[in-house]
Each structure stands twice: as C-alpha cells, then as structure tokens.
Point group: C2
Chain length 358, copies 2
DNA sequence: GGGCTGTTCTACAACGTTGCACAGTAGCCG
DNA sequence: CGGCTACTGTGCAACGTTGTAGAACAGCCC
C-alpha cells in the first residue's frame, strides 16, 4: 500500500541501501545520485516508516512528559515549554497525565507505555521520599519538582526555600507585620509545601517577625477553591492579617477571589503574593505579584539533561541536580508595577547518593 | 539486551508464537500453559517491543492532537479532555503545538511527524476555507473548530451562532441596551469570530436593539492583553456601553482587568460574559459568566470519531459534522450565581460535499 | 469408523528499515 | 607502478513481532 524505500530505489535505479543513505544524510553519495533519489522520493511521496526505523535502531525519538494535569495552568505552561524545547532538538513529546494518583504515577515508571519512548521527564506529586526505590530505573529519567530528592536520576528543581524566603521578605519590606501563609501541608516532610513553608519561616525570622500558627493555613490540594476556602476561614475566624503568601498562584487567585468577596482591599488592607508566575497572574484583578521559578529554564534544562542521557553510551555520568534562578515579580497585589524586585540564584551540583533501600 | 518473546518462550517451554498469543489474549490456550507463560513474563520482566509490533501490525496506537498552544487555557483543558478520553479507549496522545502558524499547521497535515501516529485531531487556527485542499488527506482526520467547513473529514464544532445569540440575549434580558462585542475580526468570512459576531447580530435583532459599529471592537489574537486593550480603547474613546460580550474567556478576563483598572463596576455599570467557560472563569473576580461550548463532549466525540475511522476497513463512511449542546452559565459578572441559564442543542449531520478544488 | 467441529499449539514468512562488511573506482604519493 | 587513502555504492542479515496456515488430537454425530 504505502510507498517504501524499495519503490524509491526502483524508481531511482539505485539500491535500497542507497536510498537509506540519502535519507539519513550519509555523506559519500554523488550529487547526481542524491538528486535522483530525492526526486523519486518527491514524486512518490515517500515517507520513512518510523516503526521500522525504530525497530532497527532501538530508538523512537519520543520522550514522555508525565505531569498531574494539563488543566492546571502551571503544568500546561510547563508542557508548552518542554514541547517547544524538545521540538527544537528534534524530539517529540508524549504527555501522560497522572491525576496525581499513586497508581498512575507508579505506572508511569513501569507501565505499558514506558517502553514507547526513549526517556521520561517526570513531575511526581503523589510519590514521595518513601518511594525512592521506584525511581531506580534502567532508562533515562529526569525528575522535576520537590517530592523526591536523592533518587538516582538527574533532577531539576526550584530554589524553593530561598524564593519563599524572598517572597516573605518582600511582603515584610512593605511594612506588613501579620503575614499569613496559605497552602501549608501539616506534617509533610518533603515537597513544595514543606520547603516553601520553611522559606516563609526563615523570612519571618530575618524580618524580625514572630511565627504565629494562626497565620499558617492548610490547603489541600493547591487549587483555587482551596485557596479561597483557606482565606475565607481565616476571615471568618477573625484572624488579624495584613498580607498573604500563597504557596502557588492557583491558591493566590482563589485567595484573591475570597478577599474580594469579603470586600477586603488588595493591596490596601491585605498584600498578596503567589508562586509560579503563571500567565494568569499578570491579568488577575488586581495583577498578582508572584515568584517566577524559572519555568522555561527548567523545561530547557530537563530536555537537555534527558537528551544527553539518551545519547550517552558508555559509563553512566554522575547524576546532577540543577536549580535555575528564580525571581520575585512585583505587581499590583503588592503595590508594584510588574518589575522584578529580586533574584535568587540557583546552580548545579551532584546528586547526593541515595540512602540504600530495600 | 532487553527481554524478548524468544526469551519468554524458552523459559516457559513453549513456542514464541504461543507467547504472542498469550500476550494478545488469544482464547485457545490451556489455562496451565497460559499461567506458565505469564509466570515467565513476570519473572523476566518482559515488555512487548512496541516498535516491532507497530511494524508488523501497521498500527501505532498513537493519535496526534494538534492545537495552537497549551499555554492557552482553552486548549490545555481540551488537551486534558482528549488525553483522558483517548486513554480510556486505550490510545495514547501526542500533542503538536502549531503556534497558529500556517507553516506549522501545514506541516501537521503532511510533515515528518504525520506518519508517527494512526490519526489526527486537528484544531486549525491559521489555515482557513481557502486551504480546503490541504485537508484532503489519506489518513484518519477529525477537524475541530470553525476555521474549515466542508473538508472531506469528520468535524466536531460548536454551536457558535446559536450560543453567541443566546449570550447576547442573556445580556439584553438583564435590561442592557448598549451591548458591546470584543474580539471581532473585520473582513473574516470564516472562523469563530465571524460566527460569534453573527450570533451577536442575531441576538441584537431579536432583542430589538440596533447594531452600532462603535460597539464592535477588534481584538487579534484572542488574548487577555488584546481584550484589555480593546476595552481600554473603548473607554478612552468615550463610547457608551453597559454590557460586553467577549468572544472568548481570555478576552473577557483581559476586559475584566481593564474595567477594574478604569474603576468600572462589574456587573453594576457593565455586565460581562465570555465564551469557552474555562476553569479560570469560575474563579475570576468577579466570577465570569460564560458560554460552555461542551468541551468534554467535543473531546469525547472527536476521539470516538477518530478511533472509528482508524478501525474502519472497507468502504469509507460518509463524513459527519457533530455539534454538542452548549450552555450559558450565569455568574457574578452578569449578576448571577453560577447556574445554567440556557441550553442550545446541537446534533449530527452529514458534511456537505466540499466544492471541487484544484 | 469416517468425517466433522473445536481446541491447542507451532513453523514460517513477512513488516521496512539500517548496521556491517565489502566491492569497486579514482587519485595520489613515493 | 605498487600501495595507500578517499570516495561511492551494494548485499545480507538482522531488529521483535504477528498473520497465515496448518498439524495434532479429542470428542461427537450419524
């Protein structure tokens, strides 16, 4: 049915292998031959059969990006950036949605789709430090996020503590003294919530403010609805606060909604800053200050690392952890105009050996 | 290196074909044999080599979804829905971002990635009615959106005119008399802008309101920024209006931002409704009324149609156009509480034959 | 008991491509 | 002019799977 190399070879009067050589850019081919083959390809509308090539070369040219959900803007924008970066390097991305469920995240590492692609960029949300063993895999893997540290894989993460601290200090620099944080996850040892809450504490300390448990509010998961509820409850409880640090932008947008509903002026009565700097933040009412964690750099770095691993043949290079620079972007919700008011520098370091584990 | 069927066969003491039969659920296998094979698969950690299977079966189990950009919430949510629907049916989705460029959209229909997948769900934005010829392809194709009508392919689209008319009538029912529309695309014959603007005109007519060109504002492309600008200019121009119909939610959110910046109360002074009902709409400040075009149904239908085409072997079935029901969701921006205030019914009909074209 | 149907398993030959090895030819150096 | 290197092109044998065809055997009906 479909046109194969054989047909092209016949038409161009060369061997099938020569067609293959032309298609693959093998240099030792006479210009005239090359042109004849290319003409035949054009005339017949020949396309390489990827399945056959993949079988032969043991490569698919595909990589998987596993994220919780595309309908969460942060992950949609991350996916956009990863696809673009991969595209520029000649790779195609297959997206897997895990819904942040343990089962689906485990499946991503071992399931039936695993072998479809040459490597995996994985942003886990359900799996955590107790599941380190699952991450010892025999295929190229780049881990994103803050759920898992020390796994035997390259890791691109954020400057969470430093950035959260900077965000808190930013609120303090406006003269706010009762700074609330929403999105805390009580009792969690690892993950963005723990790290950012830690940064919040450090920020308070550095600003000379005391830590008040009444100002630390849970919100699970990090959605607009839970952010709205957290702030709503805080208002209903009669807690006194003049600033809110929302641990991500979805929470912040929900908080904004709740504050508005309660007729609280932002930033007049309450200053607000989020985290992630999603596109929405810029167009919220009022425009939302946020922490830009360096998303594009994260995507680019993840693709670079993964492609490097896929290409590596011999001795496994040591695993690296990369942390891009992050930035505090001040907008109306903290009384500013959209300028960068602070940069936290990242860097690259080797991954510490993971503790042995059964 | 990797475990193959051959290894499993050897270990289980059966032929390689029997392993294949077990893996593929062929029924005539003794229970004991099946168990032995499954045990061997388990012990060796065998996984089917997809490239080999794909080569042999001429199927990849992949479908492509081509959209402009994932960072646009509407498309992110659409992608989410398509991936979920495909997943449930055992298919894997590969996303292609076109950036709404002609070149990339053309490439989607014929480029090097085309043959990687068994079919394509395509939401064009740059290609239009003049490019109908490009859509005569020899692979399963489902078209989404309003750019192209009459192409020889299945088509899932929205109830644009009816829904836009209903949205306009909704604003009129609130007693608004100066209803502006933003996002018009002057001179465009096809596409969402033209259809929704048409619905707007129909709505005005039915409400007994006159059409005022000063109330029809361009915005290209449909982004928050252009929506904000359109409303900003209208305010600067001193145009009198008491309601805005934004042709999509991004425009509406931008409009909301601009109205807020100009201290115009929504819905007090100006009522606002968008189109698409993205997640953001619910959490905007104030919550945004919108038209829910039936996104989940669109995604599900698109996948169903495509899978059906892929599976079809013999005579090509006639192409269908499917229009899901759409709904007007009233929220704060039109003084309501989130209830559905209107339904426009869709349906299925055969695609009219495309005009012959060189 | 001959022929039929139903069950269980297997051998063989592809699917379309590329890696490897090698056959030529031509040019160049000493 | 012998031998070396640089080109240019080809044939063969995989890569790992599944479709087709059929062997072998049992049970059943007439």
């Amino acid at each position: 049915m479909a046109v194969t190399m054989h047909d092209v070879a016949q038409r161009a009067g060369v061997s099938i292998k020569t067609v293959s050589n032309v298609v693959n850019g093998y240099p030792y081919i006479r210009a005239a031959t090359k042109e004849r083959v290319e003409a035949a390809i054009e005339e017949l509308g020949y396309r390489v059969n990827m399945s056959a090539r993949n079988l032969r070369t043991r490569r698919t040219g595909l990589i998987t990006l596993a994220v919780p959900e595309l309908s969460l803007p942060y992950f949609a924008e991350l996916a956009d950036a990863v696809i673009s970066a991969a595209d520029a390097a000649g790779w195609t991305v297959l997206i897997e949605q895990t819904s942040a469920s343990r089962e689906r995240e485990t499946e991503v590492l071992s399931g039936r789709r695993r072998h479809l692609t040459d490597g995996l960029i994985f942003s886990p949300l359900a799996l955590g430090p107790d599941d380190l063993g699952l991450f010892s895999v025999d295929f190229p893997l780049v881990i994103l996020g803050e759920r898992v540290f020390g796994a035997p894989a390259d890791h691109v993460t954020m400057n969470n503590v430093a950035a959260a601290k900077a965000a808190t200090l930013h609120l303090a620099s406006l003269g706010r003294r009762r700074i609330a944080v929403i999105g805390a996850h009580e009792g969690e040892r690892a993950g963005s919530a723990a790290l950012r809450t830690e940064g919040y504490r450090e920020g308070l300390a550095e600003a000379g403010l005391s830590y008040d448990p009444a100002l630390v509010r849970e919100a699970v998961p990090w959605h607009r609805s839970t952010g709205a509820e957290a702030v709503g409850r805080m208002l209903d409880d009669g807690v006194d606060f003049d600033a809110v640090f929302a641990l991500n932008d979805a929470l912040a947008l929900g908080a904004l909604h709740a504050l508005h509903a309660h007729r609280v002026d932002v930033p007049g009565q309450v200053a607000l800053i989020g985290f992630d700097d999603v596109d929405d933040a810029r167009f919220a009412v009022p425009a939302l200050s946020s922490v830009d964690p360096g998303r594009d750099q994260i995507a680019q770095t993840a693709v670079d690392l993964l492609v490097e691993r896929i290409g590596a043949s011999g001795d496994p290079a040591p695993f690296r952890r990369v942390v891009p620079d992050s930035r505090i972007v001040g907008r109306e919700s903290t009384g500013e105009d959209g300028s960068v008011v602070g940069v936290q520098h990242g860097g690259t370091e080797p991954v510490a050996a993971a503790p042995a584990r059964a």
